[in-house]
């Protein structure tokens, strides 16, 4: 009986070096003893033993850092928490995340995403600033529960790779940034709600969403960004009519 630990698995990996290669193309690698490896471990094995030029991002190996998002057999996944034994038999296809420019091989350009994160004021803006002597801002468990799930986002961008509307319109603020916006707008210690809402009233804000919901399906941390988007469609819609009653 063949030893499963010795099983060889074929990986088809999209290779591309802008400025050098005319177009992206697949390279094929055979990884021995890959049965119990994650896709990330297989990539590391390739880099260590077969082709040192293979480029990919990774850090924590435990689905916390959000660095190793990539398309595995066409689906956005974290390479570290996707195991080869769980994938269908046959070659495994690995590509950089959809909808992003390729920097090199599996490394994508994240500049646009970072700008979106910055644009929604991703920090608590307290109602009244407190000095250290005045003590911490207190919060009840119920107040924590109101936003806690949205704070689990690890910025892996799998939701952006899955979102058809982000694919159509790269200026769409997208699911991840909306989840982060809701994380702060739902926080009882925060007073920046209106300022953040005012960043998403346009077509590139919350209104590009067509409620496909696949962002929440692919999220490795169960953040449910589609829920954040929907809540803010409601908030933005009420603001559309109630803005005239608001005291500026």
């Amino acid at each position: 009986m063949p030893d499963p630990a010795k099983k060889t698995i074929e990986l088809r990996i999209l290779r591309y070096q802008p400025g050098v290669d005319a177009a992206p193309s697949f390279g094929t690698f055979e990884v021995a003893g890959a049965e119990n490896m994650s896709v990330l471990e297989a990539l590391q094995t390739i880099k260590d033993t077969l082709d040192g030029s293979l480029s990919f991002r990774w850090s924590c190996r435990m689905a916390v850092c959000g660095s190793c998002g990539m398309m595995i057999n066409g689906e956005p996944k974290l390479a570290c928490s996707t195991f080869l034994r769980d994938l269908p038999p046959g070659p495994v296809t690995v590509e950089p995340l959809n909808n992003f420019p390729i920097e090199r091989d599996l490394v994508i350009s994240v500049g646009g995403f970072v700008k979106k994160i910055e644009s929604i004021y991703p920090y608590i803006m307290p109602k009244e600033p407190k000095t250290v002597e005045q003590g911490p801002y207190r919060q009840t468990p119920a107040q924590l529960a109101a936003y806690e799930s949205f704070s689990d986002c690890i910025n892996c961008m799998l939701c952006y790779a899955a979102c058809p509307q982000f694919g159509e319109n790269p200026d769409f603020i997208g699911p991840g940034a909306m989840a982060l916006l809701q994380r702060y707008n739902g926080d009882s210690r925060d007073a920046g709600r209106q300022k953040r809402l005012d960043t998403i009233h346009g077509e590139n804000g919350v209104w590009s969403c067509t409620a496909v919901g696949i962002c929440s399906e692919v999220c490795p941390k169960s953040v449910d960004p589609a829920n954040a988007v929907n809540q803010n469609k409601t908030n933005s819609a009420f603001d559309f009519f109630l803005r005239f009653l608001r005291k500026e």
Binding site: K115, S119, I120, Q165, D171, G202, G205, W207, V212, A237
Partner: protein, 124 residues
């Protein structure tokens, strides 16, 4: 701190709220209306006699509150369906946005105008 340029406020909230209101109404009343008008009335079971007779229906539609009910149910159901179809067609890249809007929101707008006209035409 700078981010992406802010774009103008979208008018999507109007259609989205009509969609939401229609969705709520259709979930609450849609199944009941289908049961009554699609099954009970044609089969002649489960309803008081003459419940959906022409005279009864006309009297209902001539009453101001009845008119409002007819308008709200018909128009909002259409606005709900229009938004749902528009977003689906947009996802499928079925055509330019303006054309898709005309084919979906346009139909709902025409139906709404027609219902208002007919309700006024049959008098009070």
């Amino acid at each position: 701190m700078t981010g992406p340029a802010r774009d103008n406020r979208s008018i999507s909230p109007i259609f989205w709220l009509l969609f939401g209101a229609g969705g709520m109404l259709s979930a609450l009343f849609g199944p009941g209306l289908i049961l009554i008008t699609g099954f009970f009335a044609p089969l002649g079971v489960g309803l008081p006699e003459n419940f959906l007779s022409y005279d009864h229906a006309l009297a209902f539609a001539q009453n101001p509150v009845g008119k409002l009910a007819v308008l709200v149910v018909v128009a909002l159901f259409f606005w709900h369906g229009a938004e749902r179809l528009f977003l689906t067609l947009k996802d499928m890249k079925a055509g330019p946005s303006l054309l898709l809007k005309l084919c979906t929101y346009g139909v709902a707008a025409v139906v709404t105008a027609a219902v208002i006209a007919l309700l006024l035409a049959i008098g009070f």
